[in-house]
């Protein structure tokens, strides 16, 4: 049985993107054409109009770049683009300006190639200039994605020593330590940075890190004050979502609801995902988020499509979510679950899992989903190896999920008795842990296998599956039950019981 994490818990930990992608998403609040024109730029324009030479064109374009008024240098720009004598470096600088002026940057490269390219380019840059904390963080991100966690850690340490107060560096470092299962350190680097006390982005990260540690942040009061200060809505959205999570976890649903509603204005994709999750799991769908559509809301879209039973859409959004956060276990788990189990694309799930497991090498749920995908592809020996590599000293629910997958493997190998025993054990453990939803799903999977194998236990397994899932309205469970009914119908047609 494949599993889905993120259903029961979500913290608003910072997203970790490349630097350009992180800051590029902020719209320029001061439109370039409203900037006043300096006397210097005016004289550059005059020189260009009078002389029309390459070097006056370069001077004008440079002045226009500094003043964010490239709109005034259109002809000069064209001239330097077309003149064969233009120094290539000048063209590279203009291209860089355009890239940094774009709201977003797209890359068609697959995750692994993109990371390798980033590593190559970062290494060249850092060899010449090692004092660039942001480049160290970008390098750390690529190393993390590719599973070179020791190298990533050294990069993060270098960045923190160079820029211990930078928002981008601190949030990325905090995210890295959470990824490394060291949330105490993630919180500590934020708590000790003086800038955290008056920066909503850092406060939001600190509260999230504290909640991952499992304790209440000491900065909640300060955060409450900042939340009501005159920062922009966009700057406050993650802080409000973090505070709301904290309030709701402490039982103050009303306060939390108000904060979530405030977080909705200016929401980014991370805060919106948090709002959606809190609303669905804790408040009972009372907040309308349908009108909020921040860029790159892949996680939100993936979950929304999931609950609406639109598997192809959910899979497409999940893939984008994973490409955005390829080191994230949650993104990898969700994406592989939807691809392998619901969208019927286990091969694509394998590709995702191979990357996700690099940064999360010991993640049992990812391994479980890998084994599940192998089973779907009839690669049973590989599935066996993966399942055997998962230690059994897990908490009940994870262990039970793995046990169910062992059951699936046994069924596919033809060991029906073993398979049944694994499933029965898993169902019992889910029930003992009070997770009736997972018990129902395991029972459904067992029934599917019984029907698939045409055993005499099929009718009773099916009846139990229906019993255990009767209160479950989730679309994925409904889909599995539908699949069960279809298989039963096929069987009955095959047996000429019905026509």
């Amino acid at each position: 049985m494949s599993s889905l994490i993120g259903e029961n818990d979500r913290k608003i930990v910072p997203r970790w993107r490349g630097f350009r992608a992180s800051v590029g998403k902020t719209e320029n609040t001061d439109p370039p054409n409203e900037n006043p024109v300096s006397a210097s730029l005016q004289s550059n324009i005059g020189d260009w109009q009078r002389e029309g030479s390459l070097w006056t064109a370069l001077d004008l374009v440079a002045g226009a770049i500094v003043e964010n008024r490239l709109d005034l240098a259109g002809e000069a720009l064209q001239h330097i683009r077309e003149n064969p004598l233009t120094p290539p470096a000048a063209l590279a600088i203009v291209v860089e300006y355009d890239r940094n002026s774009a709201i977003d940057e797209n890359s068609d490269l697959p995750v692994e190639l993109r990371c390798r390219e980033q590593i190559r380019s970062s290494r060249i840059k850092l060899a010449d200039y090692p004092y660039d904390a942001i480049e160290w963080i970008d390098l750390a991100r690529s190393f993390t994605t590719l599973g070179s966690l020791g190298k990533a850690q050294r990069c993060v340490a270098a960045a923190l020593s160079l820029a211990p107060s930078d928002v981008f560096v601190l949030r990325a470092a905090s995210r890295f330590y959470i990824q490394q299962k060291d949330p105490e350190r993630a919180q500590w680097i934020l708590t000790k940075a003086p800038r955290t006390l008056n920066n909503p982005w850092l406060l939001a990260s600190e509260i999230a890190a504290a909640s991952v540690v499992g304790r209440e942040s000491q900065l909640l009061k300060i955060a409450g004050r900042i939340e009501r200060s005159d920062f922009s809505q966009e700057d406050l959205t993650e802080l409000r979502a973090a505070l709301a999570t904290s309030e709701i976890e402490a039982g103050s649903n009303n306060k939390g609801k108000k904060l979530l509603r405030r977080a909705l204005s200016g929401a980014n994709e991370n805060s919106l995902a948090q709002i959606q999750w809190m609303d669905r799991t804790r408040l009972g769908n009372v907040i309308d988020i349908s009108n909020t559509k921040p860029p790159h809301g892949h996680e939100v879209s993936a979950w929304r499509a999931f609950f609406n039973g639109k598997w192809a859409k959910s899979a497409a959004s999940a893939l984008l979510w994973f490409e955005d956060q390829p080191f994230s276990a949650n993104a990898g788990i969700f994406c592989s679950f939807v691809l392998a189990d619901l969208a019927g694309l286990p091969e694509q799930a394998l590709d995702i899992l191979k990357i996700a497991l690099r940064a999360n090498v010991d993640n049992h749920t990812l391994k479980n989903n890998l084994a599940f995908s192998y089973i779907q592809l009839e690669r049973l020996d590989e599935a066996q190896d993966v399942l055997a590599s998962i230690p059994t000293s897990l908490d009940n629910l994870d262990d039970a999920t793995v046990e169910a997958t062992f059951g699936l493997l046994a069924f596919r190998k033809g060991s029906l008795e073993d398979g049944r025993a694994y499933y029965e054990n898993a169902i019992r453990r889910f029930q003992q842990a009070g997770s009736h939803e997972l018990a129902g799903r395991a029972a459904t999977y067992l029934a599917l296998e019984e029907v698939r194998a045409r055993t005499q236990n099929a009718p009773s397994a099916m009846k139990r599956a229906l019993d255990l899932t009767k209160d479950n309205k989730r679309s994925d469970v409904a889909m599995k039950l539908e699949e069960l009914q279809t298989k039963v119908k096929d069987w009955l047609i095959e047996e000429h019981v019905i026509t």
């Binding site: 009078r50 370069l58 964010n68 300006y97 010449d128």
Partner: protein
């Protein structure tokens, strides 16, 4: 209607100079709206450049009295500085031939300064070249660095080093012009209180972004240092360092788009600086040249003012803004280029 300063053509000035031609306003003149430039000629055949202060234009300023005071002070300051440079025989600074006043018919008194006439600024000279001449560029930089060193040695900080103020003077090589925005330790200027006295489009980031806490030396010599390094970047890329830095900054953190302080954007500026060095590296395929150019640019243009300068120099004279080591480097590079040891760029 033309102002008095615009009506000097045909007149004869003190010393016999004849005013030949009014030049179009250009970036040669800082604050060009309040001055006019002419070509002038002496009966002995010498040609020169005349800068006439346009006090009439100041009257159309919203604050005419304030503008007149500023212009007068600026004129007096520049005259004092160019005379000082003449007295100290600073060979790499454009020479002043004199100053005076002239009243055109029906006009008001125009104060002027007469300078030696160059062949044009480096942009004009580069425009006339069809091939990359490394030796020419290195020599130009060497002369410029020597010029600024001469000024610093006279307690003058130029504060407005840019391509349009670097003038070719034939066999004499290159000289630096326009001391109108300079700072002198012993003479007050109307621009002394400005955060950025020179052209902001060439200014270092600590003078663009708010909140930088700077010593007087960092604000003055530090800016000259940055501008010199920027000229090195200009020679290889065609663009100034300030533009290269801003192009590598995310749009939301560029100088004109953010209220963030210098300290807060410094890591992003360092990232931009790393990108610029990467672009510059691509422009300089010769490794030996790159090592030296990188050292110069890294120490002269570092966006972090604390890291800017020559640390070795600090030990010798207590200031990290000494130029001697860079001048020696450029001199060596010129020799190597002459011997063909730096290849072609």
């Amino acid at each position: 209607m033309s102002t008095s300063a615009e009506r000097l053509v045909g007149l004869t000035l003190d010393g016999g100079w004849s005013v030949i031609e009014l030049l179009p306003k250009s970036s040669i003149q800082t604050g060009g709206a309040f001055s006019c430039s002419y070509h002038i000629e002496h009966p002995d055949g010498r040609k020169a450049f005349l800068k006439a202060m346009d006090f009439d234009a100041a009257l159309s300023d919203p604050d005419p009295a304030g503008k007149l005071k500023e212009l007068t002070e600026a004129y007096v300051f520049e005259r004092t500085i160019v005379e000082l440079c003449g007295t100290r025989k600073l060979s790499r600074v454009i020479r002043a031939h004199g100053s005076g006043t002239k009243t055109p018919l029906g006009g008001t008194v125009v104060q002027y300064l007469i300078f030696e006439l160059g062949e044009g600024d480096v942009r004009k000279q580069l425009s006339q070249m069809t091939e990359f001449n490394l030796l020419w560029r290195l020599k130009c930089l060497h002369h410029l660095f020597v010029a600024i060193q001469q000024l610093h040695g006279s307690q003058i900080v130029h504060q407005d080093v840019k391509p349009s103020n670097v003038v070719g003077c034939g066999d004499e090589g290159h000289k630096v012009a326009d001391l109108g925005r300079a700072w002198h330790a012993l003479t007050s200027s109307p621009f002394d209180g400005n955060q950025c006295a020179g052209d902001t489009n060439y200014a270092p980031p600590e003078l663009l972004y708010s909140g930088a806490i700077l010593t007087e030396e960092e604000r003055r010599q530090g800016a000259d240092f940055f501008a010199l390094g920027s000229m090195v970047v200009f020679m290889f890329t065609g663009l100034r360092m300030t533009a290269a830095l801003m192009s590598a900054m995310p749009a939301s953190l560029r100088w004109r788009a953010t209220a963030e302080t210098y300290a807060n954007v410094l890591p992003e500026l360092q990232h931009a600086f790393g990108t610029v060095l990467y672009q510059l590296r691509a422009a300089i395929p010769n490794d030996a040249l790159w090592v030296e150019v990188k050292m110069i640019v890294e120490q002269m243009c570092n966006p972090d003012i604390v890291k800017r300068g020559d640390k070795g120099h600090t030990a010798k004279i207590g200031s990290r803004f000494g130029l001697q080591r860079f001048i020696s480097k450029l001199n060596t590079l010129c020799t190597k280029a002459e011997l063909g040891k730096l290849g072609t760029v």
